[in-house]
C-alpha cells in the first residue's frame, strides 16, 4: 500500500492549458466520467467540461490499465513473449497472435505452410466476428437496447466453443505460433464452423431488425460524433472509423498478409462519418468476414501446419525418442530460444479496431531488444475531443461505443 499514490485534489488552474477560459470563471462545469463507469468500456476516465448538458471539452485520461506489456516482452524469449499479446486487446486475441507472429517471422525469415496460412485467416476472421459481437452487444446496452446484448453473446459462445475445441482455451488461445499454428484442428472443427456459417446470417438479420430501423437507435446515432475523412487521416484513424467516413482503406486489401489476396470480399464504407455509419460498417464487416470464413473452409489445403525449419520450430514429439538431433533442437529451442538478427521490423494487420502493428527489434540474442505496439484504440481515443464537442453528455457514451475502444489495447 505504501508505494500506491493516493488521491490528490486537482485545482482548475492546473488544468487550464486543457480547458476553455470559461472554466476558470466557473461558467462551465467540470465533470469526471470514469474510471468506474458502466459505459466507458473499461477503465477510461474522461474529464468533461460542460456548458449545461453540452460538452465543451473532453479530455481522455488513460493509463488505468497500463500493464507494461512492451517492457515485459523484452524480458522473454520470442516464443514466450507471445502470451503477452493475447491479453493486450482481449477481444482480438488471435489477431494479436497473428500480428506478433508475422513480425517474428519477418525478423528471422521463417516460412509458413499453406494450411497454416488458411487456418490463420479463418480464425482471425472468426475473431473479428467475435469482437464485433461484443461491440454490438455493449454499445446496444449503452444506448439502452438490452436484448441485443443477450442475442449477441449467444452467438459469441458458438465462436468461443470453436476456439476451445482447437486450443483448449476460450479467450487467450495463443494458437497461432511463429511458423504456423500450435497443432492441427480436430475433426469436429469443420462441422462446427459450417454450422456457424449456416446459422449466423439469420442471426445477423435479427440484430439488424432490432437496431437498424429502430427510431430510438436512429435518434441516438445519426448525426452524432461526426468526423470527416480528412480529420480521420489527420488523426491517423484506421478501421471502421475511417471506413465509416468514406475511405475504403483496409490493410487486408492494401497490404495483404497471410494470403488475403486470394479471397473475395468487399470493404464496406459509409460516407456519413457518424455513429450510425460506423454501426453499418461493422455489421457489414461481419457479413464479409463470414464470406472469408466460408471460402477459407472450402479451400482448406492439406499438409503440414508448422514450418519444418528446425532452427526455429521444435521437432514433433515422436522424433524425440529416436533422433539425437531432434532432441538437441528441442532442448536448445526451449532453453535458449533462437537468436534474431540486429534489425527492426514492422508487421501490421487489420484488427477489428483498425491497424494493429508490432514493431520488433532484435539485438542478436533470443529476446527482443525493443517491442512497440501500434494499437488502434490508443489512436482512436485521440479523436474523442473532436468527436464529442458540442454533443450532449448522453451522446458521449454512444460515441465511445462507436469507436470501439478496448482499454487493454489503448493502455498496453
Amino acid at each position: 500500500m505504501s508505494d500506491i499514490v493516493a488521491f490528490r485534489d486537482v485545482k482548475v488552474e492546473e488544468l487550464k492549458h486543457l480547458l476553455s477560459p470559461r472554466a476558470l470563471t466557473g461558467e462551465t462545469m467540470l465533470l469526471n466520467m470514469g474510471p468506474q463507469h458502466p459505459s466507458t468500456h473499461g477503465v477510461l476516465r474522461l474529464l468533461l467540461e460542460l456548458d449545461g448538458e453540452i460538452v465543451v471539452n473532453c479530455i481522455p485520461d488513460i493509463g488505468f490499465l497500463h500493464t507494461g506489456v512492451e517492457k515485459n516482452m523484452e524480458s522473454k524469449l520470442f516464443q514466450q513473449a507471445e502470451v503477452m499479446v493475447d491479453r493486450l486487446d482481449y477481444l482480438n486475441p488471435l489477431g494479436n497472435n497473428l500480428t506478433y507472429c508475422l513480425a517474428v517471422e519477418k525478423l528471422v525469415g521463417l516460412d509458413v505452410p499453406e494450411r497454416a496460412q488458411t487456418l490463420r485467416v479463418l480464425l482471425s476472421e472468426l475473431t473479428r466476428i467475435n469482437s464485433h459481437l461484443v461491440w454490438i452487444g455493449t454499445s446496444g446496452l449503452d444506448l439502452a437496447a438490452m436484448s441485443v446484448f443477450l442475442y449477441a453473446m449467444r452467438e459469441r459462445e458458438m465462436i468461443l466453443d470453436i476456439f476451445e475445441m482447437i486450443s483448449g482455451q476460450r479467450m487467450m488461445t495463443t494458437y497461432i505460433r511463429p511458423g504456423g499454428v500450435w497443432r492441427d484442428v480436430p475433426a469436429e472443427f469443420e462441422p462446427a464452423v459450417r454450422e456457424f456459417i449456416r446459422i449466423f446470417p439469420a442471426r445477423l438479420k435479427e440484430y439488424e431488425s432490432m437496431l437498424t430501423n429502430n427510431a430510438l437507435f436512429l435518434e441516438r446515432t445519426q448525426g452524432i460524433g461526426v468526423i470527416s475523412k480528412e480529420d480521420c487521416i489527420r488523426y491517423s484513424l484506421t478501421g471502421p472509423v475511417l471506413r465509416g467516413s468514406g475511405m475504403a482503406y483496409d490493410l487486408r486489401k492494401a497490404r495483404p498478409y497471410s494470403g488475403y489476396e486470394q479471397y473475395n470480399f468487399d470493404v464496406p464504407t459509409e460516407t456519413a462519418g457518424d455513429v450510425y455509419a460506423r454501426y453499418l460498417v461493422r455489421v457489414e464487416e461481419m457479413r464479409q468476414s463470414l464470406r472469408i470464413v466460408e471460402q477459407a473452409l472450402d479451400k482448406m489445403p492439406t499438409g503440414p501446419i508448422r514450418s519444418n525449419n528446425r532452427k526455429f520450430i521444435p521437432p514433433p514429439r515422436s522424433e524425440l525418442g529416436v533422433s539425437m538431433e531432434a532432441l538437441i533442437h528441442h532442448f536448445k529451442l526451449w532453453t535458449e530460444g533462437y537468436p534474431a538478427p540486429k534489425e527492426g521490423v514492422y508487421a501490421a494487420t487489420e484488427s477489428p479496431r483498425g491497424e494493429l502493428g508490432v514493431y520488433l527489434e532484435g539485438d542478436g540474442g533470443p529476446k527482443p531488444y525493443r517491442v512497440h505496439l501500434r494499437t488502434p484504440s490508443f489512436i482512436s481515443l485521440q479523436a474523442m475531443p473532436l468527436l464529442t464537442k458540442g454533443h450532449f453528455v448522453a451522446d458521449v457514451v454512444g460515441i465511445i461505443g462507436s469507436i470501439d475502444i478496448v482499454l487493454g489495447d489503448a493502455d498496453r
Binding site: I4, F7, G42, H66, T67, M153, R154, G408, D411
Partner: protein, 160 residues
C-alpha cells in the same frame, strides 16, 4: 414443497436470526458493475444468455458502489487503478464481499512487472479467489457459490 408446507396451518416457521439473515444476504447479493480487463468479458458472458448468473439471484448489477454488496475484481489492477479500487470498496456499505476473479487479480498472473499490483489483496480484503486466465464463466459461478456458502456460515457475532 416450499415454505407453505413447512409453515403448516399456523403460518409460522421457527428458525434462527442468523440463518434467516444469511439466507437473505446470499440470495440477493448485488454485484457492482465494474470490469477492468479480459476477465470482465467473461464476467459479461457469465451474466449473458448461455450462463445466466441470475439463477443465483445476481442479475442486478449496480453501477453505483453505494447500492452493491459484492465487488468482483475482474482483471489486472494497475498501480494507477489501485487507489480507485480501494476508494470504490470504501464506498460500498457493509456487509460487503470481494471476489478476485482471475490470476491477475489474485496474484499478478503473467504480469510480474512494475505496472501491475501483484494481487488485489494488497489493497482490499478478498473473500474468494477464482483461478484461471481468464476463468470460464462456470469458474466465476463456482466462485460465487463458494462465497454464498461462506456467507451462509457466517456467525452472528462476526457480523460487521
Amino acid at each position: 414443497m416450499g415454505i407453505e408446507q413447512k409453515a403448516g396451518e399456523m403460518g409460522v416457521i421457527t428458525t434462527t436470526l442468523e440463518q434467516v439473515v444469511n439466507w437473505g444476504r446470499t440470495n440477493s447479493m448485488w454485484p457492482m458493475l465494474f470490469g477492468l480487463a479480459c476477465c470482465a468479458i467473461e464476467m459479461m458472458a457469465a451474466q449473458a444468455s448461455s450462463y445466466d448468473m441470475s439463477r443465483f439471484g445476481m442479475e442486478l448489477n449496480r453501477a453505483s458502489p453505494r447500492q452493491s454488496d459484492l465487488m468482483i475484481v475482474a482483471g489486472r489492477v494497475s498501480r494507477k487503478m489501485a487507489p480507485v479500487v480501494r476508494h470504490l470498496y470504501d464506498q460500498m456499505p457493509d456487509p460487503k464481499w470481494v471476489i478476485a476473479m482471475g490470476d491477475c487479480a489474485s496474484c499478478g498472473g503473467v504480469y510480474n512487472n512494475y505496472a501491475i499490483l501483484q494481487g488485489v489483496d494488497e489493497v482490499v480484503p478478498v473473500d474468494v479467489y477464482v483461478a484461471g486466465c481468464p476463468p470460464r464463466p462456470e469458474g466465476l459461478i463456482h466462485g460465487v457459490i463458494t462465497l454464498h456458502d461462506k456467507v451462509r456460515h457466517e456467525k452472528l457475532k462476526t457480523w460487521g
